[in-house]
C-alpha cells in the first residue's frame, strides 16, 4: 500500500502550484520581504527616530498628566474619538500619546515632548498589510495572498512525492538546476509550520473584514462593530455630553495592585471628555500568544471587568493569538530572530519558485531573457528600492513620499528589465545597487 498520490494528481498539483506561484509570486515576495523586516517594527522606530525620551517605566500620575496635556492640546478642534497611550516596554521603552490627529512622545514626568516621527516604519508595515492600497481593499488583497500561500504549501507537498524522503538532500553547489530546486524544496518543507502559521494568521487578519461584513449583514443587522464585541470585548455606551478627563492614574494604580505580574502595553480612552468615556488597559501575559488582556475601567478609574482574551472563551483566546503568532512578538529577541530566519527562507522560496520555472523553460528551448530580467527586477530591485525609501527618510525627512518612491522605483526597475541589456549584466547591476542602497541606508541610520 502506498500513500503517494497518483501521477495525474501530482502533475495537476504541479500545474496548480506553478499557476498560483506565477500569478501571485511578485506580491507574495514583497509581502514576505516586508513582513520579515517588520518583525523589528518596534526596534526600527528607535532607529528611525533616535531623539525621543526613553524610560523603563512611567508613574500613573505622569500618564495622567500626559493624557490631560494631550487632550488640552486638542482644544479648538474636534475632540478625538480615541486616545492611546503606548506604555514603555522592553522593545520600545517610550511613552507616546496618540489621538485621531497627532502622536506625541512623553517625558517620564508626563510632560509632552516632541512629535512621533516614524513615517518609514509605518510605511513598511502598511506595505506589508495593504500594499499601500486603500485600507479595506489592500488588506483583503493581502488576505487572499495568505490563502494563496496556504494553497501553494498544499500543492507543493502534493506535487513533490519525495519531498519528505529528500528533506535533507541539499545539492547547494549544483549549478544546473537541482541546486536551486533543492533550496526551494528543502526550505519549504522545513519551514512549513512557520509558513502555514503566518499564512493562515495573515489570511484571517486580512479577510477578517469580509467575514465580519458577511456576518454583520446576516446576523447583526449590518453592525460590524457588534460582530467583534463577543471576541474582543465591548465598549461603553456613547454619551456625548461633556465630562472632565478620566482618572487614568487610578486605573493604573489598580492594575499595579491587583495585576503586578502583567506588562501594560497600552491605555486606550474611548470617547474621551464625554460622559460615555471609558478607560481600557491592555496588558501582556507572560508565556501566552494573546496580544494582551483588556481590563475595562469607568471614567473614575473603577474596575469594570476583563474582556476575557486571556481566560475567556476558546474562540476569544484563538482570535487574540493571531497577531503575535503572525508577527513573532511573543518571545522576545530569540523568537524575533527565528522569525527573521524563517521569514528570509520564505522570501527566498518565493524568489526561487519563479527562477525554477524559468530555468525549466530555458532547458526546453524557451529562453526568455526579458521575463528573467523582470523577475530579477522584482527579486533584487524591490529590496533595493525599499532601502532607498529608508535613505529618503533620512535625507528628505518623515514626510517623504515613501509609497510613491517604492512603487515608482519598482516599476522603473521592471521597465528597465525590458531594455536590451544582457540578463547577467542586469542582475549584477541590481545586486550592486542593492548593496549600495543598503549600506547607504544603514550608514544614514547609524549617523
Amino acid at each position: 500500500m502506498t500513500t503517494a498520490p497518483d501521477a495525474s494528481t501530482v502533475k495537476r498539483a504541479l500545474w496548480a502550484h506553478a499557476a498560483m506561484g506565477l500569478v501571485a509570486g511578485a506580491l507574495l515576495y514583497i509581502v514576505s520581504l516586508t513582513g520579515t523586516i517588520a518583525v523589528f517594527y518596534a526596534e526600527l522606530q528607535r532607529v528611525e527616530q533616535g531623539k525621543a525620551p526613553e524610560m523603563t517605566a512611567i508613574a500613573p500620575g505622569a500618564v495622567q498628566r500626559a493624557v490631560e496635556a494631550a487632550l488640552n492640546a486638542e482644544r479648538g478642534g474636534s475632540t478625538t474619538t480615541h486616545l492611546y497611550v503606548h506604555m514603555p516596554v522592553e522593545e520600545l521603552p517610550r511613552t507616546t500619546v496618540t489621538t485621531d490627529t497627532r502622536a506625541t512622545h512623553v517625558e517620564s514626568d508626563g510632560r509632552l515632548a516632541n512629535a512621533e516621527e516614524i513615517g518609514w516604519s509605518d510605511f513598511l508595515v502598511e506595505l506589508h498589510y495593504t500594499l499601500n492600497l486603500p485600507a479595506l481593499v489592500g488588506i483583503s488583497v493581502v488576505g487572499v495572498l495568505g490563502v494563496m500561500m496556504l494553497a501553494l504549501s498544499l500543492t507543493g507537498v502534493i506535487a513533490h512525492p519525495r519531498i519528505f524522503r529528500d528533506a535533507f538532500l541539499l545539492r547547494a553547489r549544483n549549478q544546473t538546476g537541482p541546486g536551486l530546486a533543492d533550496w526551494h524544496n528543502r526550505m519549504s518543507v522545513w519551514s512549513l509550520p512557520f509558513t502555514v502559521a503566518v499564512a493562515l494568521t495573515g489570511a484571517v487578519i486580512g479577510l477578517g473584514s469580509i467575514t465580519a461584513y458577511a456576518i454583520a449583514l446576516l446576523d447583526y443587522g449590518g453592525d460590524i462593530e457588534a460582530v467583534y464585541q463577543p471576541l474582543f470585548g465591548e465598549e461603553g455606551k456613547p454619551d456625548k455630553r461633556h465630562a472632565p478627563a478620566p482618572n487614568v492614574a487610578a486605573a493604573l494604580e489598580y492594575m499595579a495592585r491587583r495585576y503586578p505580574k502583567v506588562t501594560i502595553t497600552y491605555v486606550t480612552l474611548h470617547d474621551p471628555l464625554t460622559r460615555g468615556q471609558e478607560i481600557q488597559v491592555s496588558a501582556l501575559h507572560a508565556r501566552r500568544l494573546i496580544f494582551g488582556e483588556t481590563y475595562r475601567f469607568d471614567a473614575e478609574g473603577r474596575f469594570l471587568g476583563v474582556a476575557g482574551l486571556a481566560d475567556g472563551e476558546l474562540g476569544q483566546q484563538a482570535a487574540a493569538s493571531n497577531y503575535q503568532l503572525h508577527f513573532g512578538s511573543f518571545g522576545g529577541l530569540p523568537v524575533k530572530l527565528a522569525y527573521v530566519l524563517f521569514g528570509m527562507a520564505l522570501t527566498a522560496i518565493c524568489a526561487t519558485g519563479t527562477y525554477i520555472w524559468l530555468g525549466k523553460r530555458r532547458r526546453r528551448g524557451h529562453d526568455e531573457p526579458r521575463l528573467l530580467k523582470a523577475w530579477d527586477a522584482v527579486v533584487w530591485g524591490s529590496p533595493m528600492v525599499l532601502a532607498l525609501t529608508l535613505v529618503a527618510r533620512f535625507v528628505i525627512g518623515n514626510g517623504a513620499p515613501f509609497a510613491a518612491v517604492f512603487w515608482i522605483g519598482t516599476l522603473l526597475a521592471l521597465t528597465i528589465a525590458f531594455a536590451p541589456i544582457a540578463p547577467s549584466h542586469f542582475r549584477r547591476v541590481l545586486q550592486f545597487a542593492l548593496v549600495v542602497s543598503c549600506v547607504g541606508a544603514g550608514g544614514l541610520a547609524l549617523a
Binding site: L218, E313, G331
Partner: protein, 193 residues
C-alpha cells in the same frame, strides 16, 4: 527553573531529537520503519509536551526549536555538498504555451477569477454556515464567530485547490457549485430572520 521550564525544555529537545532521528531514517538506503516512526513520534511528543508546558505558546516555541534544528542540518548538508552537474528535473508545469500552442489568455483570466475572486462567496458562506452549526450545537457566540473567521480562508484555500485540480472548466464550475451549497440555507436564514 519551574516545572513549566523543564517541560518546555523537554519538548524542545524532543523536537530537535525528532529531526535528527528523521535525518538518520531518511539517510538509510532502505526505508526504516522503526526510525521513521520514532522520528515522527518525537515530533508529536514535542507538540504535545509543549502544549502541556505552556499551551499554544509552548507548542510554538517547541516547533521553532524543531525548525531551527532542521535548518542547521540543512546548512550542514549544503556545506558538505559537492559540486555536481546532475540533470535537473524538466517536469512541465504547463503554465505557458510551448511553440505553436495558443496562449488562451481569456481562459487563463477566467481561471484566475474562479480561484482568486469567486471563492470569496462560498468560503464566507461556508464560514457563516459553520458558525450557525456551532450555535445550533450550543457553542458560545465567541466560539462560533472565531470558527467563522478561521474557517473562511481555509475553505477558500480548499476551494482554490479543488478548482485548480479540475482538468476541465465544467469540473471547476461543479466544484464551485458544490462549495456554495452551505451558503444558500445560511443566506436564507439570515435574510428571513
Amino acid at each position: 527553573m519551574t516545572g513549566h521550564d523543564v517541560l518546555l525544555a523537554f519538548a524542545s529537545a524532543a523536537g530537535v531529537a525528532g529531526v535528527v532521528t528523521l535525518r538518520l531514517a531518511w539517510a538509510q538506503a532502505r526505508r526504516s520503519m522503526p526510525l521513521n516512526a520514532a522520528g515522527w513520534a518525537l515530533l508529536l511528543i514535542a507538540i504535545v509536551v509543549g502544549w502541556l508546558a505552556d499551551g499554544a505558546w509552548g507548542t510554538s516555541v517547541a516547533v521553532l526549536w524543531t525548525m531551527g534544528a532542521a535548518f542547521v542540518l540543512l546548512a550542514w548538508a549544503g556545506l558538505r555538498s559537492e559540486p555536481g552537474r546532475a540533470g535537473a528535473s524538466n517536469r512541465r508545469a504547463g503554465m505557458l504555451p510551448e511553440s505553436g500552442e495558443p496562449l488562451r489568455l481569456g481562459g487563463r483570466l477566467l481561471t484566475f477569477t474562479l480561484v482568486g475572486i469567486v471563492p470569496v462567496l462560498p468560503s464566507a458562506g461556508g464560514g457563516l454556515a459553520l458558525a450557525a452549526l456551532g450555535r445550533m450545537l450550543g457553542w458560545s457566540e465567541a466560539n462560533a464567530l472565531a470558527l467563522a473567521f478561521f474557517a473562511m480562508p481555509i475553505l477558500w484555500m480548499l476551494i482554490a485547490y479543488a478548482v485548480l485540480m479540475q482538468p476541465v472548466r465544467r469540473g471547476q464550475v461543479k466544484v464551485l457549485a458544490i462549495a456554495s451549497l452551505p451558503t444558500w440555507p445560511t443566506l436564507a436564514a439570515g435574510l428571513l430572520s
